[in-house]
């Protein structure tokens, strides 16, 4: 049976009406994954038995009339989320044999709403990368052109949705890791405001920037997923205790009378002409939908990549100190004492990009360099945040491209890490500022590659941002196109 063109809302209706069982849906989903994943490599671990058991349980619940937002619906999560009694590798050799002894809060919330978790998705090792090439489980291939990257670090999460393997996924976004792959794969991806979703049980990369975000085939499903995972969690002291609105209510609120700002620093010469064209057309669509378009300035944009990488690498070097061969994961020990064991374990377990970032972060935090690098970056971060707060005094939303080019070829950028970092220029500033942002399809290149549009919202104004994205989606049909697989 073929269900991979259904949305979450359509699946829910069919399940409740008895036209479909969760077991059939889950079996079809697993078959679709098996049929397509040889080409894509989007999954690291499939949880077949657990999924079928959860589906059978969901069918019982549906019969009894107890349905949650996701009862019986197959969902997959990035392999950065701890999932009870299932392997969580984070795309790294150092966690190859790690079995989670607990569930992340976001995973508990999915399960509480009845979701059937079918597996764990491929990613750049420890979420460090923009192409999903830095994975111990191998590169992920873009469903629109399998010679190209799906983006990263949540490359598996985006490719799986684009290919119809699952209807929605969870990823994480530290500098664009949900939005950039969503853009490259032609799906909807949302980075909530920092503090909106609990990070408890999510393997830490850069703790002041990391945020959990949903990916789905359309804006409504993305809004539904956000509503499921959002909210305060006492287990994450950085999650914020403010009420979660119903993101599905008023989704059709439109953009009439809204002010949308175009940050001038994002419309630069290096922008691919086809992306510029697609974004310009989107601006015109918003104008026709009744929004007022105004130019704004985010003057410190040009410093955001340098600021971001210093902060992210410093925090990563500290967070990744826990991989020492003592409590979990790989251990290599040839009898050269404790320090020797640490060194051998970490040298054998981490990949090149992770080592590079640990090295740079350690350097930036080391005695004599802290003020010049880490503290300086934290001060620049204040300036970047102020840019956003000032812009949001004038406008309701900001509109920008997601990435300077469509998906590039696998292998094209691997030898030039700095060039790869620079490709994150449009997504990084929102993580530094802590606001919410999302990516959704706004066109295709002549090569048939998806192009994403980014909306950036005020802190905790995800509902307003989702309304604007929904209005665009209703007015266009970019998200109706699917890759041939």
């Amino acid at each position: 049976m073929k269900f991979h063109d259904l949305t979450i809302q359509e699946m829910r209706q069919k399940l409740r009406a008895g036209d479909l069982t969760s077991v059939d849906l889950t079996k079809a989903c697993l078959e679709r994954i098996k049929a397509t994943d040889g080409e894509l490599n989007a999954f690291i671990t499939l949880c077949e038995d657990e999924a079928l058991a959860a589906a059978a349980e969901a069918d019982q619940q549906i019969k009894a009339g107890n349905t949650g937002m996701l009862t019986g619906i197959p969902i997959a999560v990035k392999d950065i989320f701890n999932t009870l009694d299932v392997r969580t590798t984070c795309g790294s050799k150092i966690l190859d044999n790690y079995i989670s002894p607990y569930d992340a809060t976001a995973v508990i919330k999915l399960r509480e709403q009845g979701a059937v978790i079918v597996g764990k998705l491929n990613m750049d090792e420890f979420a460090m990368g923009s192409s999903n090439e830095n994975s111990a489980a191998g590169a992920v291939h873009n469903p629109w052109d399998t010679e190209r990257v799906p983006g990263g670090s949540s490359g598996g999460s985006a490719a799986a949705v684009a290919a119809g393997q699952v209807v929605a996924t969870l990823g994480t976004d530290t500098g664009g890791s949900v939005r950039q792959p969503a853009s490259h794969c032609g799906v909807v991806g949302l980075k909530p405001t920092y503090g909106r979703v609990s990070r408890y049980g999510v393997v830490a990369f850069a703790s002041s920037l990391d945020q959990v975000g949903p990916l789905a085939g359309n804006v409504e499903d993305c809004a539904l997923m956000l509503g499921v995972v959002a909210g305060y969690d006492p287990a994450d002291s950085t999650s914020v205790d403010c009420p979660v609105p119903d993101y599905l209510e008023n989704l059709n609120g439109g953009v009439a009378g809204k002010k949308i700002g175009l940050p001038q620093e994002y419309f630069i010469d290096g922008l691919d002409p086809e992306i510029k064209q697609a974004v310009d057309a989107a601006i015109e669509t918003y104008r026709q939908l009744g929004a007022e378009i105004v130019k704004v300035s985010l003057p410190h944009t040009d410093y955001s990549v340098a600021c971001y990488y210093l902060i992210a690498m410093a925090e990563a070097s500290s967070n990744l100190a826990r991989y020492d061969g003592v409590r979990f994961g790989l251990r290599r020990d040839s009898g050269e004492g404790l320090t020797g064991m640490y060194q051998q374990t970490r040298s054998a377990g981490f990949g090149d990009e992770v080592k590079r970032r640990i090295m740079l972060g350690t350097y930036a935090l080391s005695s004599g360099y802290y003020d010049a690098y880490y503290l300086k970056a934290q001060k620049v971060r204040t300036l970047i945040r102020k840019d956003f707060l000032k812009a949001f005094e004038q406008v309701d939303l900001l509109l920008t491209p997601v990435a300077p080019t469509p998906a590039f070829k696998i292998g094209e950028m691997v030898d030039d890490p700095l060039q790869m970092y620079l490709s994150d220029i449009f997504t990084i500033p929102t993580n530094l500022a802590g606001t919410c942002a999302m990516s959704f399809p706004c066109g295709f290149s002549t090569d048939g590659l998806p192009i994403g549009l980014q909306l950036i919202g005020k802190p905790f104004a995800e509902n307003e941002m989702l309304q604007a994205a929904y209005a665009f989606e209703q007015a266009t049909d970019w998200n109706k196109r699917v890759p041939e697989l």
Binding site: H300, G337, R346, R356, L418, P459
Partner: protein, 95 residues
């Protein structure tokens, strides 16, 4: 040059990483390029600017000093490369 092989070796020791001579050479040149790039932050005058540690204003999160839920010992040890009874076992530290 922002950084040389000798200081990269020192940083590797701090980070508990071992780099063989070829890796050391590549790492030095890549770190040099990246550190050269991030130097652009020095174009900005940040005197009097408060450093920002978090994206949302945040103070310490306190709770009552009460025993909460935690992993059972066997759960906490299930992934240990080497365990002994209720302990993680490491190579000998003191000769």
């Amino acid at each position: 040059m922002k950084i040389n092989e000798k200081s990269v070796e020192h940083v590797a020791r701090l980070a508990r990483l071992h780099l063989d001579p070829n890796d050391l050479k590549i790492m030095t040149s890549q770190m040099d390029a990246i550190l050269g790039y991030v130097d652009k932050l020095n174009e900005l005058d940040t005197d009097g600017v408060e450093p920002m540690a978090h994206a949302v204003p945040m103070s310490n999160a306190f709770r009552e000093d009460e025993i909460g839920r935690s992993l059972k010992i066997e759960r906490a040890l299930q992934n240990a490369p080497v365990a002994d009874e209720t302990c993680f076992k490491v190579p000998k530290v003191i000769e």
